[in-house]
């Protein structure tokens, strides 16, 4: 029996990527857990903000949407979308954005719009929301995904949010002055991007996960030569997650 669930592993893995003083553009899922754990352990000065305009709310209760009134309480500021996205792209700020998607390709480009033809979709998803903006403007992006072949695809059905585009220098050439995905955190492990080619590679697998499991769950060829085993969540991380951050397991879901 595992002592922690994949979601707990994902939340703590991502949490460790947040630096002290980072300004974190969070969604309402695992990213908020990651940010909160980080703040309580190694990044007390990290600030969480939401695309709706809520800046550094007290988060006494977990919001279930970025427009939840729980992001408006005890905050440093209640603003609006214009201010939030201005901060997201602010050149002075080390902004880290957490995103999810329906599909990802080898360069970390994301689709959260449709499966199939855009005008005649097989499945319609909610759409960009602020994802395209975050992927365009943030200092860096961390992506959460369920790891499976239909999601890690050779070619996106629709490119909603720009990653490293076609790799190499293409992101800069497109006109972006910063940003790009830093890591992809899945239920199996952590992927990062090569400094030169910008192609995704397997960086870490979770304890008990075989590299081959990642390979077969990925719909494109991926370098696995640099892989190492990820550190499991610490006692402290798990205690904070379970007792302080999400005691009702609203986001954590069922325990391991």
């Amino acid at each position: 029996m595992k002592a922690y669930s994949p979601r707990e592993m994902m939340a703590t893995s991502a949490g460790r990527m947040i630096g002290n003083g980072d300004v974190v553009f969070a969604g309402t899922g695992i990213s908020m857990l990651a940010a909160t754990v980080a703040k309580r352990i190694h990044a007390p000065d990290a600030v969480v903000f939401f695309e709706t305009g809520g800046i550094d709310p007290s988060l006494e209760e977990l919001p279930l949407a970025v427009a939840d009134p729980r992001v408006m309480s005890g905050a440093a500021m209640n603003a609006g979308l214009i201010e939030a996205f201005s901060l997201l792209g602010h050149r002075r700020l080390h902004t880290i954005a957490f995103l999810g998607a329906a599909q990802i390709d080898r360069f970390g480009n994301l689709n959260s719009t449709v499966l199939g033809d855009y005008r005649n979709p097989r499945t319609r998803f909610p759409g960009s929301g602020g994802a395209c903006d975050a992927a365009s403007l943030a200092w860096g992006v961390i992506v959460f995904m369920q790891h499976d072949k239909r999601r890690f695809v050779e070619k996106l059905d629709y490119l909603t949010s720009p990653g490293w585009l076609s790799g190499d220098d293409s992101r800069r050439q497109a006109g972006f002055s910063r940003g790009g995905p830093i890591a992809v955190v899945t239920n199996l492990g952590i992927m990062r991007f090569d400094d030169t080619s910008r192609a995704m590679y397997l960086s870490e697998v979770y304890p008990g996960v075989e590299v081959q499991e990642v390979v077969v769950s990925t719909g494109f060829e991926m370098d696995v030569s640099r892989v190492r085993e990820a550190d499991p969540p610490t006692e402290e991380e798990l205690r904070i997650l379970r007792e302080e951050v999400d005691p009702q397991r609203l986001i954590l879901g069922p325990p391991a």
Binding site: E61, M72, S177
Partner: protein, 323 residues
């Protein structure tokens, strides 16, 4: 009459009749589960408005209801979802899948900038958001509707920044000036001044960009109250056409400092939205057969309203069962 609300205070029925027409371009205020102008959405459905052209950023409940009731033909949107209750709005998803509505996708910042440009009287705004994405490359609307009515002549266009080198490209987004904006606020003063509490999303930009503005509100407050701290006010009366007193008018979405979202109702909605027959019954039961908002709130019931009532010191209902 800028100094007196009298000429503007009206019922939701009158406001919708006067300012929303078949084919109107309508901006929806609020965001996913918060401050949707539900009382107006329900009234629009009762009045069987058709072919609406909705423009919004991230929208949830009122959008989904309007789409499900067959009021919407065309949609410019960044996100259709209702938080954890419906990560993708269900009737929206179905309607797009069935080709029942025409959709054009933008991002939240792009849509907000378009409203801001409209609010400021600027023809367009430039951003780096979306370069090389399908948001920029793929149009949703058919070529033949381009430049007709309120459809912009181009979805957007990419240009070089004239103040910088060749590589510095930007996306130009056309301004939005909808026919009408539907806004739910906490307070309107007796002088017609609007005060919104909590996050304003892009509501103020939407209101300022629109040709007409309908504001539903929780409370009408004395002029002295609203004028005592002008820093806190959100919209002057001369930009508002209709004021509708609608307590709990955002239900089942939240209104910061007044009430939380109603998880029970949103879960009910999620279940019925998945099936055409149940959804049709829902519309009958919760919209068509309730003549007005008083009757709607009676149906929701006092016990439920008390459950979601916000603790005014923190703005939401602490400990609410949100599963």
């Amino acid at each position: 009459m800028p100094h007196d609300i009298a000429g503007k205070l009206m019922s939701a029925e009158d406001a919708v009749r006067r300012f929303v027409s078949d084919g109107s371009q309508v901006a929806l205020g609020g965001f996913t589960v918060s401050r949707n102008a539900m009382a107006l959405a329900r009234e629009i459905i009762r009045q069987k408005k058709r072919n609406l052209y909705i423009v919004c950023h991230s929208h949830g409940q009122s959008l989904d209801l309007l789409i499900g009731a067959g009021c919407v033909r065309r949609l410019e949107i960044a996100y259709g979802g209702t938080g954890r209750f419906a990560p993708t709005c269900i009737r929206f998803r179905k309607a797009v899948g069935a080709g029942q509505i025409e959709v054009e996708d933008y991002s939240n910042y792009q849509m907000s900038l378009r409203f801001l440009a409209g609010a400021m009287g600027l023809p367009f705004m430039a951003t780096k958001s979306g370069l090389e994405t399908d948001l920029v490359k793929v149009e949703g609307f058919a070529a033949e509707v381009r430049g007709t009515g309120k459809v912009p002549s181009k979805k957007l266009t990419v240009m070089r920044n004239p103040f910088n080198g060749e590589e510095d490209k930007v996306v130009l987004l056309p301004a939005l000036n909808p026919d009408v904006a539907l806004i739910h606020a906490q307070y309107v003063g007796e002088d017609g001044t609007v005060r919104m509490k909590g996050l304003t999303f892009a509501d103020l930009e939407q209101a300022r960009s629109a040709d007409h503005v309908i504001v539903t509100c929780e409370e009408i407050v004395p002029r002295s109250f609203i004028r005592d701290d002008p820093d806190q006010n959100s919209l002057p009366s001369f930009l508002v056409d209709a004021v509708v007193k609608a307590p709990f008018g955002a239900h089942p979405t939240a209104c910061y400092s007044f009430y939380d979202y109603d998880p029970q109702h949103l879960n009910l909605y999620k279940d019925v939205a998945a099936r055409d027959d149940l959804f049709s019954e829902y519309l009958d039961e919760w919209v068509y057969s309730v003549p007005n908002e008083e009757a709607y709130l009676e149906k929701v019931g006092v016990a439920n309203l008390m459950k979601i009532k916000a603790n005014p010191a923190i703005g939401y209902a602490p400990g609410l069962d949100r599963r």
